[in-house]
């Protein structure tokens, strides 16, 4: 290849970085196989972060051909022909600006905007083969204390001290350390669960590569625990309630499901705890997400379901202190979230209301139900009152479908089933508090039934939606409605109510089994049960136009799609 010398100063960032990690991004395979990227193979089958890369491949770092595309400053310079190909020789630290074909020498002096390479800082000594030497720093900002802990550990192990942060790395870290405001979440994300990145947005982390497993593990995973433990309650109720004794259900399903739910809860909690320990910044971002924050109630609700579903063979009467332990985190979370609604500001309810908020309300009713089961008197009424007051507010707000509210999905989505959750659990809680299924309990029950029916007859609108782990959370309202129907059957026993109970229980069991099959397929066959969690990787500020362009070029977005999103974005 002819190489013409052109002494142009390139930024210090590029002097010290190698940018050949992302296949197809910065590197060009010349097709003749002469200079394949030796790191390609290593990176492409890197499944989880921290695996030691095969050392042998790295030592063979030879001359690397790396392509850095530089775009002129003005948008008018969008002609591909005017861009220069700058080859960066990877031989040594010396800057060598080599130009191959340079048909436009007049552009040589133009200010260049080098596409930012993905930063991989290397230790001073490149010959070191150890995995720490080429540790992936891209995910550092998301780690607890921004990866400082790991650096200190590697320092302690006697490695050469790393370079101080390069400016780009430091700015990325600052970018991550402060969670974005709630407006940014609404601007950057779309979809009923606010988990899809808009076309004009850029992710802070690389999108086309699999992130570390812990980063991909969302808090929605607790939805599985909710789904399975509510099933356990259903089978316990079917077993123990006298009105359903004609079915002769054995206690075995309850027992099996309870142990399965327990295992699931322990596993999911353990993994999420690891995420909190190692990737606290990512957890912080999830907490600030307007939809995901409601899932932080899910672990406690799942534990309460476990307490409600405990098989009679294991324990009959639970101690009240369990109730206090489980309700305390719910109480604290509630103070924070309802207080945000009340005091307005960025997170006022008219702005952030979405069906997932029901999860925060349901916690109150489940707590009331559990407390009443345990024989407590005042505590259940307390939480019932708080839940009822805020439920009325949320219900009215969601029914209004305010124009200021951007988060409601226009099309139907399983998240709407959460509407059924609150009234069905509320009616059971009230019945338990009062002692019998009186009129004040029947009213919410009929409301729950009505909402269920109006969603069930539209079930054909639910097809064609991408499966996600959060769907598990939407099964527990169905199960809750079935359990409420069984309780109602206990109060009003006749053919209609009995058949309704059987029917609803069958539907809910069928749904859960289908979901289980889907989950197993996605987990082991398709291997995309945990896709990259884009919603935590949005930028704090709107990305600059140049960055948007480079993002657009690197992804193969349709230009029409891009144009439409640009125009949509400019209207916001």
């Amino acid at each position: 290849m002819e190489q013409t010398e052109l002494q142009v100063e390139i930024p210090s960032v590029l002097k010290q970085t190698s940018c050949q990690n992302i296949k197809g991004f910065d590197c060009v395979d010349y097709g003749n196989g002469n200079n394949p990227n030796p790191l390609e193979n290593a990176i492409s089958d890197k499944e989880s972060y921290g695996e030691s890369i095969a050392g042998s491949k790295i030592t063979k770092l030879e001359l690397q051909e790396v392509v850095i595309i530089s775009l002129p400053a003005s948008p008018s310079g969008l002609h591909i022909g005017q861009t220069k190909l700058v080859l960066h020789s990877e031989k040594c630290e010396n800057t060598d600006q080599n130009d191959t074909k340079n048909p436009y020498p007049q552009l040589a002096k133009q200010k260049k905007f080098h596409s930012q390479p993905i930063l991989v800082r290397e230790n001073g000594d490149r010959k070191v083969v150890h995995s720490e030497a080429i540790r992936d720093h891209r995910f550092d900002p998301f780690k607890t204390w921004s990866g400082r802990l790991e650096r200190q550990i590697s320092n302690l192990r006697g490695k050469a001290t790393q370079e101080p942060d390069i400016e780009a790395g430091a700015s990325e870290r600052d970018e991550i350390e402060e969670a974005p405001g709630v407006d940014r979440y609404f601007d950057a994300l779309e979809g009923p669960e606010l988990d899809t990145l808009r076309a004009t947005e850029v992710s802070v982390l690389p999108e086309d590569e699999k992130w570390p497993f812990l980063l991909r593990f969302p808090v929605n995973a607790f939805g599985i625990c909710l789904g399975v433990s509510s099933q356990a309650i259903l089978w316990k109720t079917l077993n123990t309630s006298p009105a359903m004794s004609f079915l002769h259900i054995s206690p075995m399903p309850n027992l099996i499901l309870w142990w399965a739910a327990l295992a699931l809860i322990l596993f999911v909690s353990f993994v999420y705890l690891l995420k909190i320990v190692f990737y606290f910044e990512a957890v912080k971002r999830e907490y600030h997400h307007p939809v995901r924050v409601n899932f932080f109630f899910a672990p406690w609700i799942a534990c309460m379901f476990m307490a409600l579903a405990v098989p009679p063979s294991i324990a009959v009467n639970l101690r009240p202190f369990i109730w206090y332990i489980l309700m305390t985190p719910i109480f604290i979370l509630e103070l924070k979230i309802y207080g945000q609604w009340m005091s307005g500001g960025q997170r006022r309810l008219s702005k952030v209301a979405n069906p997932s908020n029901h999860l925060s309300i349901v916690g109150n009713f489940v707590g009331a139900l559990l407390g009443a089961n345990m024989g407590l008197k005042e505590g259940p009424i307390f939480f019932f009152a708080v839940g009822l007051a805020h439920y009325i507010v949320l219900f009215v707000t969601l029914y209004q479908r305010l124009p200021t509210n951007a988060a409601l999905p226009k099309e139907l989505h399983p998240v709407f089933f959460l509407f059924v959750a609150a009234p069905s659990v509320a009616c059971m809680a009230w019945a338990k508090i009062q002692g019998d299924f009186d009129y004040a309990a029947r009213i919410p029950y009929f409301i729950a039934l009505f909402l269920y029916m109006s969603l069930a007859v539209r079930v054909n609108f639910f097809t064609g939606i991408r499966f996600s782990l959060a769907w598990w959370a939407y099964t527990f309202p169905m199960t809750g409605a079935s359990i409420a129907t069984i309780k109602y059957t206990m109060a009003v026993t006749n053919v209609v109510t009995r058949s309704l109970s059987v029917c609803l229980s069958a539907i809910s069991t069928f749904t859960v089994s289908t979901l289980l099959v889907y989950t197993i397929v996605h987990a082991f066959v398709l291997r995309d049960l945990f896709p990259n969690d884009i919603s935590i990787a949005i930028t704090r500020k709107k990305p600059k136009f140049s960055k948007m362009l480079s993002h657009f070029r690197s992804s193969s977005a349709d230009s029409k799609d891009f144009d439409s999103s640009i125009s949509k974005n400019s209207e916001i």
Partner: protein
């Protein structure tokens, strides 16, 4: 006081300063050349201070009257607080009558000042009626009167004079109801979504207090009528305030203490239903617990009140009344549900309310200047709108 007069003189003749908040005191930098003018206009500036007493000052009377009611309730023999009633009974009844008299005098003084203001600055009163915060405080004197009536040691609830006074104080509340609630859904400029703010809960509290007193008199139907008025509009208001449309964000930072009214409304509803149904049943308990939760929620957000706490103002008196009503509801709760925790709750809340009220009285005595009205916050509306109000 002379310095104040001089300062007021400067501001009196000219076009009033268009500010909604009380101006910063600048008692040192006044010009001495106006001393002759000061003596001539001393009377008019005194009068101008007096006429600047807007309805927000009734917060003081609300606080004091509710305190009197609290002390009376605590001292009642039916209160089953083993420790508390013995403490309260050691306080001589003379002290209680003193408090009641202070409350009565303050209330009468404020009413008088407001009447004077009505005569002399009628335009300001009209502007106040139209303001989304000011209009709600027109309920405050009637609420204070009703509570004072309830707390009176001289009259029994089945006395004829008692009932006449109740009618006299409740009729204005109903009239104001018709005006303000009607505006909520009929009048274009004053739809609820535009004017809703935490002080709107005072309208609800007015109805509920009227219902409470009526039930104690034995007039159950009137009580239920006013209760249903209050609770229905409370439901609508609660939802609206929680939604917090952009239009309702119009509360200035100095008035943040009125957020404590969130606590007062459900507590008053709980008390009212308690006297209507003669027992602290589940509904009352739920309302009481809701107000406890809102109290915890507000107390855990000190940042919300930081700006308003920088300077003493009459808005600080807004802390006292809700705490007292909460303590009253806790008292009723502890009477019904006997146990350690309800009694502790009642003790803590009562002590808190007494301490807060005493602190406010001390502050007022020490910083009288800060609390006096230096500007009429409703005059600017006159100037801005010309004669169109």
């Amino acid at each position: 006081m002379a310095q104040n007069q001089r300062r007021f003189n400067v501001t009196n003749h000219q076009i009033p300063i268009p500010t909604l908040h009380q101006s910063t005191t600048n008692t040192t930098g006044t010009d001495t050349g106006t001393s002759t003018r000061a003596s001539k206009t001393a009377s008019s500036s005194d009068l101008s201070i007096l006429t600047r007493f807007h309805a927000g000052y009734f917060r003081i009377s609300l606080a004091l009257c509710s305190q009197a009611l609290l002390w009376k309730t605590l001292a009642e023999p039916t209160t089953d607080a083993r420790a508390l009633s013995s403490i309260v009974r050691t306080i001589p009844s003379f002290a209680f009558i003193l408090l009641w008299s202070i409350a009565l005098l303050t209330l009468l003084l404020l009413c008088l000042l407001y009447l004077v203001r009505c005569f002399l600055r009628f335009r300001s009163v009209r502007a106040e009626l139209a303001h989304h915060v000011g209009m709600n405080y027109l309920f405050a004197p009637w609420i204070s009167f009703l509570m004072l009536l309830q707390a009176t040691p001289f009259l029994q609830p089945d006395n004829r004079l008692y009932r006449i006074l109740w009618c006299a104080f409740s009729v204005p509340i109903v009239v104001l109801d018709v005006k303000i609630y009607g505006q909520w859904f009929t009048q274009g400029k004053r739809f609820l979504s535009m004017v809703a703010n935490p002080t709107s809960q005072i309208t609800v509290i007015g109805n509920l207090v009227g219902a409470h007193v009526a039930a104690q008199m034995g007039w159950k139907e009137s009580a239920v009528c006013m209760f249903s008025l209050g609770i229905t509009h409370y439901l609508v208001l609660f939802v609206t305030l929680y939604q917090r449309f952009l239009g309702s964000d119009s509360l200035p930072a100095m008035l943040r203490p009125v957020f404590f009214l969130f606590i007062a409304a459900p507590s008053t509803a709980s008390l009212a239903w308690d006297s209507i149904s003669s027992s602290f049943d589940t509904g009352c308990k739920m309302l009481f617990f809701l107000s406890l939760f809102l109290f915890a929620s507000l107390v855990s957000r000190p940042a919300l009140f930081k700006r308003s706490m920088r300077r003493f103002s009459v808005a600080w008196w807004a802390y006292s009344f809700p705490l007292t009503i909460l303590a009253l509801a806790a008292t009723e709760y502890a009477q019904d549900v006997k146990g350690v925790i309800p009694n502790v709750l009642m003790l803590v809340l009562s002590v808190l309310s007494v301490v807060v009220t005493l602190a406010l009285m001390v502050f007022t005595a020490l910083k009288t200047n800060d609390i006096l009205p230096h500007d009429d916050p409703f005059v600017c509306y006159n100037i801005a709108r010309g004669t169109s109000t």
